[in-house]
Symmetry: C3
């Protein structure tokens, strides 16, 4: 059977490396939540610089390179799955930003 | 002449840092393939954490931070070029995942 | 008030880590320009490998891992804001490549 392209959604969550959720870094808490909720996979990228809305606590100056690098948590999932976890994400992020876009997915 | 926006496609290939293709890391073998096939450019990003479909060998636990970080290989190309290399990518990936989305490209 | 999804644009600027703009690395000059022009935020990602159009000075060989890693500067903004800064970006990049795509944005 040949692989096919299937329509799904790419969700990207922008936080700062220094943001926390209880005792955990926020991005680790997000990854734990995503696993617990059964999303198919997640990838965490760390930027080398950035500013502004890429972290939860807005700042008017360039991010301190060593202390609050931007983090992007990426998830590719169905719209239903993403809509289902959105209230949980909203309550954890309290500030910050997410983007959503349609992508075609090929599983081999 | 003013630069213009041209419609192309962003292909993202998700593998694990520990995945291999013969004697090479899989992501290096993919970059070699992409160059040999004449794609215009490729960018390889390494995540700092992740789980699940972001690597070829699915796992039920969080990726070991030091041994199998998620890798994303990105290509921006025409649909014809991407369709042309897809059978080669399918045969190298044997598991794993790709996403495709339309983007406007500006070359300056 | 519940957060909503708002249509904006993801601009990605591909340069090389070794590219310069005057005395600054080009990607740092881009981040300074973006802040000065009041964009809401920017994230700078550094690749671990790449080739071709991911850096300003095109090369026919794989990027030297230690000297010219690919850099992606990402901005999420309104189309008006992006169109407004485009002439400035065009004049700074002189070669290189940008991609633009629509995304839904959620601010919490």
């Amino acid at each position: 059977m040949s692989p096919i392209w299937e329509e799904q959604y790419l969700l990207r969550i922008f936080v700062g490396e220094g943001d926390r959720h209880g005792r955990l870094p926020l991005y680790e808490a997000l990854v734990e939540l995503l696993r617990r909720e059964g999303v198919a996979g997640a990838t965490v990228l760390r930027g080398i610089a950035g500013f502004g809305a890429s972290h939860v606590c807005h700042s008017d100056k360039l991010l301190d390179i060593s202390h609050d690098l931007p983090i992007v948590v990426e998830v590719v999932e169905s719209r239903e799955k993403i809509d289902g976890i959105m209230p949980l994400l909203d309550s954890m992020l309290k500030g910050g930003r997410m983007t959503l876009e349609t992508v075609s997915v090929r599983r081999i």
